[in-house]
């Protein structure tokens, strides 16, 4: 628990106004929710009322404010719902309730549960994370969720487990992008056990004080902020512990361009573009990319002995 301790990855405090606006807006939303107006926000009511972090304002070292909610919820890559480059995935009929989640593979006790039941039992917290897409855009989002390891430990992984494989849903009827059979659906991502165990690895169920929207990966997505965004798999239905390294979606599709590790590094360009800079959603600004997306203090040690791996692809 983080009571009384402010982990260093938490974005430092600041008195700037945009966030003050954001927080007052959130209180207003919580009110609407408790008045029963917003069906979407309702399940989040208890959670929105409990930002474990008090209503601080927060800002990045490089004076990067939170990305405005309208941009973080409208500029998304979610190819299951949007095959083109419109970046406005239409996930209208996508049903995220009820949502079953399975944990299996090399575990002592495989689990299968309804997400809402589980969320009633786990304390949620809010984290302000940077998010860096491999295509060169970036945002800063107040995610709500819980550490990935909480969920994984529930199933008690065996000693032989080396990787965590995460799998997204499969339903071509509501997700027309999945009819494009040349892509290896469903979306699959994976982490090493050490990565999954890291305190930064976060499972997300909400953002901006509300239940997560479909285009952001509802009802359950990953956030691994030191890696390129495509590692942060959306709409997770299954977590499996494995001994062999899983082949991820993009690794299978375009191995020349995308690998297993995908850690952010300004000095390792993508074959088709430089990674030296990032464009901030909602601004005309570009900013230098930071190695590990600025989270090196918390994650670099994971990779100390892995220097032969292509860590940044």
């Amino acid at each position: 628990m983080f009571v009384g301790r402010r982990p260093g990855w938490r974005l430092p405090d600041n008195d700037a106004t945009p966030e003050a606006v954001f927080w007052s807006r959130r209180e207003a939303l919580a009110l609407t929710a408790s008045a029963g107006f917003s069906a979407l926000a309702r399940p989040q009511r208890s959670q929105a009322a409990l930002p474990e972090y008090p209503p601080h304002t927060s800002r990045f070292g490089l004076s990067q404010p939170l990305t405005a909610e309208k941009y973080a919820t409208s500029y998304n890559n979610y190819y299951e719902f949007d095959s083109g480059r419109a970046r406005a995935p239409q996930a209208g009929s996508f049903k995220t309730k009820p949502w079953r989640v399975v944990i299996d593979g090399l575990v002592e006790e495989a689990q299968s549960f309804d997400l809402d039941d589980f969320l009633g039992k786990v304390p949620l917290e809010e984290r302000l994370y940077r998010h860096r897409c491999v295509e060169g855009w970036a945002m800063a989002v107040p995610w709500i969720g819980f550490p990935l390891k909480v969920l994984v430990n529930l199933a008690r992984p065996l000693g032989s487990a080396k990787y965590l494989r995460l799998e997204s849903f499969m339903d071509p009827e509501t997700a027309p992008g999945q009819k494009q059979f040349w892509y290896p659906w469903p979306y699959v991502e994976a982490l090493t056990i050490a990565e999954a165990d890291n305190e930064l690895s976060f499972l997300v169920t909400g953002a901006y004080g509300k239940a997560l929207l479909a285009q952001n990966g509802a009802p359950l997505r990953l956030a691994t902020p030191w890696k390129y965004g495509f590692k942060s798999i959306k709409s997770i239905v299954r977590l499996s512990l494995t001994e062999e390294r899983p082949i991820t979606f993009w690794e299978r599709q375009q191995p020349q361009e995308y690998g297993f590790w995908a850690n952010v590094n300004p000095d390792v360009p993508h074959p088709r573009w430089s990674q030296a800079w990032e464009r901030l959603l909602g601004t005309d600004e570009r900013r230098p990319t930071k190695i590990w997306n600025g989270y090196g203090d918390y994650v670099a040690s994971i990779y100390a002995t892995l220097d032969k791996e292509p860590l940044f692809k």
Partner: protein, 293 residues
């Protein structure tokens, strides 16, 4: 100096004015949307995309003018060909400027990126070609070069169209429709030109235009299926048969077939009129370049 809305005698010329306004429209729309926040979270990037796609569309439109003139017996079209071509260049230049702006006017990065990223190098080649043609598009340059040399130089536009389409295709995401449609339309334009100078030795007949449109569509379907199949390893035939279902929407090949067939159908009218002697096409279609009251 003749403005884009005047004829050679300096009088207001509605046909040219309308075309000119049409050419300005996407740019004006982009500028307004940019200013009013209608271009989303990364408006500079959105503007790059819009200006790039319109540059390519106008480039293709300039190549369509001669075929459309021949099919529709509408000689007046030629009077706006240079204007459309210059518009393509203007949009491409604005496209580059917005890219420079997106890189925070850091010209060193821009130069670096253009040098190292294949698709940007290719884009630059297309832009330089367009610049050359735009610079030689004035009456003065036309006279200076002489008709034959000028025409030979401006045949370069076909190569530029190929290079610009390549720049677009290098950014292709599998399953995306518009880049493949543009490739198919490029096939159509090249085929028309090729058949015109070889088989037909002159304007193609309407029936040939229809056949050729179907050929361009078939080529498009084959190319799309090969691209997807090679990139993903799925069977070529599986992608090809998609063209006969609506599972993933209307496929590019059908869209490519359409304009040529529509043009050919529209071409029936002037030929019918010519046959029945209602009016002679050339007299009605060509407006004298310098008109006296």
């Amino acid at each position: 100096m003749i403005t884009p809305w005047q004829d050679r005698s300096g009088r207001f010329y509605p046909f040219k004015a309308v075309v000119f306004a049409g050419l300005l429209l996407p740019g004006v729309w982009t500028a307004i949307a940019f200013g009013l926040g209608g271009l989303g979270a990364l408006r500079l990037n959105a503007a790059i995309h819009l200006l790039g796609i319109w540059a390519l569309r106008f480039l293709f439109l300039s190549l369509l003018i001669t075929p459309a003139k021949e099919i529709l017996h509408w000689a007046r079209l030629v009077q706006v060909r240079r204007m459309v071509g210059v518009a393509a260049f203007a949009y491409a230049l604005a496209h580059l400027l917005f890219y420079v702006a997106e890189q925070s006017f850091d010209v060193a990065t821009v130069a670096d990126e253009i040098f190292f990223r294949g698709f940007l190098t290719v884009g630059l080649a297309a832009l330089l070609g367009l610049a050359l043609l735009a610079a030689t598009s004035t009456d003065k340059m036309m006279k200076k070069l002489g008709g034959r040399r000028w025409r030979r130089l401006h045949r370069l536009v076909y190569a530029i169209a190929v290079v610009a389409t390549l720049h677009y295709l290098q950014q292709l995401m599998l399953g995306e429709r518009e880049p493949i449609v543009m490739l198919g339309l490029l096939y159509w334009l090249l085929l028309y030109r090729l058949l015109g100078v070889t088989l037909a030795q002159g304007p193609l007949g309407l029936f040939s235009v229809v056949l050729m449109s179907i050929a361009a569509a078939v080529l498009t379907a084959l190319t799309e299926a090969s691209l997807i199949s090679v990139a993903s390893g799925v069977a070529f035939g599986r992608v090809l048969v998609l063209n006969f279902s609506l599972e993933l929407g209307i496929r590019p090949a059908w869209i490519v077939a359409l304009p040529g067939i529509i043009l050919a159908c529209a071409g029936i009218a002037p030929r019918y009129q010519a046959l029945t002697g209602m009016k002679t096409p050339s007299a009605s279609a060509v407006r004298p370049l310098s008109r006296r009251p």
